[in-house]
Symmetry: C2
Subunit: 383 residues, 2 copies
């Protein structure tokens, strides 16, 4: 979520970026950031690769799959170097259907309260794919690490994308999550049955289900186990939540924890804000998801700004307890009278009975992350 | 949270209940239910035993510690019968500082929106103790169970308290939590360094950190591993959350999951609603806690009903990641001008960046559980 580097550099570092689908809604070209249009978001349970939101911090690296090596730093200075074919053949392929969400999804609603620093995401910086790859657990155990480690230890990831000074994108997750069989963390080389697209980390990315997208490092080059979190800018000085009273003069990044699990979230994908809909039966559609594998147990929908509510129908099936990594799509059908002004609202409840806050102002924060207030969509019913 | 049985029964089944501390704020005498007065709640980090909230569903059983036996139903029909001294001597004593909260804590705020069925708890149906006992994990492994079991399996608990028909209080938790070393589930025989008081489960109770109090079964008589949740009324037909649109005519208890982990919570213990405070520096005090071992990372306090916020100081220390079982006490000092009308508000943020909802109406439910909206305390500053 950095300001784009200056594209007037002698040679455009983004010249090697891949082609993109014209249907994406672009929020920044260099680096490339784009979201799935809301209307397409809930057309299918699995988001098509070419329409999956793209969150790049830096130019897309050009990686030759033949010479690619993943460096895994083992205990006592031992280093494992894995080619792509070794990663594929030495470890069982594990498949997980998981939703990834950008910390800044729905930031534009927060910006309307007061300006924030970051890309103006609407509700589409979220998507769901079937990821295939090696379990990070299996790779760590193979490298010689054990099941247990003190709670503060992290597994650090570095991407092959780097800023002009050569500093790579980096992030980390707690060791306990990395090594847990139940947490399903992958070193993924497949997305929806295809090899990873370049914009999504070809040839290998981390996928950390239930956790903010920023930790699912793309173009993975290096895995290291450390007594502390990643020293990366994106772990230490970004992707953290603050009180609405904190501004750029008073912010102390060390005072807040790095975002890992995300809070409960939902949004309305149909109809769109400001739409005119015909009288009769209206179908409201959307998505709902929560972090940490907590399944969505209910979505409430209001047509009158939150005064009265109905319970939406959840599509799909309940996941295994604690491993609800994928969103639930939902819909509600309701009669709407000609000429009415509706304020459609949705709010989800997760397995821990956490709920979304009513309004965005009190969760406003200077970076515009964690925007999960009730989604409100004003709509006019035609006559 | 049942209506009290008729005390005009030929013999009062509550006649054997223990004496109680006169400082408790009583919400029902038979069965006995009482909370810690708000003013005393944050005097100390550990709630004194005699002032700890008491939530009894039935008469307190009179248990002879010498003849007490805990029945643990092992695999393949084997049954373990443990005396109190065997429970103490055969398993290492494990100590955990954990907050227990009733599902109905803060129900009275919900009742003011629309009537609900249940005891009129204020903010004191919560407390923190240092619990000592055997790990449930150790007892399960000793009984012959293993580390792993399909996600739907539960460990069922039955109390020695029973209704007039002989049905005991019962509840269950997922097997994974019960057997997890990191979840710290206890079969506790000590509370704050003393033997368990009768009102708190003497001689043995379950303590399930991070989970609704209703699963921490008191006067524990029986532990059984089952492919399904406890069939108990309190698991199946109570202690569940519903949409505000569900009423007693439409409620389908099978449609909602039993409450296990509780959502993020906080409340103001000082000053009290309606208080008059002197001008100058006001100290606002309260507690904050979240379920599932998620630590509280921030408490925001407003003196103007939520328009502007300050960050409160958290007392005590950060817990180990994912094992933040105890509340954080907090305070905020702020200047208040003579004659002002304040609406003091608090809201907490937990490690998953879940937050409390702004208002109670949209989380209203017919049983009045899960009442975790911003706590609002109107106060007058004297001249
Ligand atoms: Mo992000
Ligand atoms: Mo309770």
């Amino acid at each position: 979520d950095e300001a784009p580097p200056d594209p007037s550099a002698a040679q455009d570092p983004f010249a090697g970026d891949p082609p993109r689908h014209p249907g994406l809604r672009i929020s920044s070209r260099k680096p490339f950031n784009a979201e799935t249009p809301a209307e397409l978001l809930t057309e299918r349970f699995l988001t098509p690769n070419e329409l999956f939101f793209t969150r790049n911090h830096l130019p897309v690296p050009a990686v030759d799959p033949g010479s690619y090596r993943l460096r895994v730093e083992g205990p006592e200075g031992r280093v494992l170097s894995l080619s792509l074919s070794e990663l594929r053949s030495r470890f069982p392929k594990h498949e997980v259907t998981a939703t990834l969400q950008c910390a800044g999804n729905r930031r534009s609603e927060m910006s309307r309260v007061r300006p924030v620093k970051g890309l103006a995401w609407d509700i589409g910086a979220i998507g769901t794919a079937r990821w295939g790859g090696a379990r990070l657990r299996d790779v760590l155990l193979h490298a010689g690490f054990g099941e247990e480690r003190d709670g503060e230890w992290h597994v650090c990831f570095e991407g092959l994308d780097a800023d002009p000074g050569g500093a790579p994108y980096g992030a980390s997750i707690p060791y306990g999550r990395a090594v847990s069989a139940g947490a399903d963390v992958l070193l993924a080389y497949e997305m929806n049955g295809e090899e990873l697209p370049r914009d999504h980390g070809f040839p290998v990315r981390v996928v950390v289900p239930g956790v903010v997208g920023a930790r699912s490092v793309k173009w993975l080059g290096r895995v290291a186990v450390s007594a502390a979190e990643s020293p990366s800018h994106w772990q230490q000085n970004d992707y953290k939540g603050f009180s609405p009273c904190v501004d750029w003069d008073s912010v102390d990044y060390s005072s807040a924890p790095a975002i890992q699990e995300l809070p409960v979230q939902s949004a309305i994908t149909h109809p769109r804000p400001g739409a005119a809909v015909p009288p009769g039966e209206l179908t409201v559609k959307g998505y709902a998801w929560s972090g940490g594998g907590r399944d969505v147990v209910r979505v409430d929908v209001s047509l009158d700004g939150g005064r009265t509510w109905s319970v939406a129908s959840l599509a799909g099936e309940r996941a295994a307890p604690g491993r609800a990594w994928a969103w639930r799509l939902w819909e509600l059908r309701a009669p709407v009278p000609a000429g009415a002004q509706l304020e459609i609202v949705c709010k989800a409840v997760d397995r821990s009975y956490n709920v979304q806050p009513d309004t965005v102002g009190p969760i406003w924060n200077l970076r515009g992350v964690l925007s999960n207030a009730w989604h409100r969509v004003p709509v006019t019913v035609t006559r």
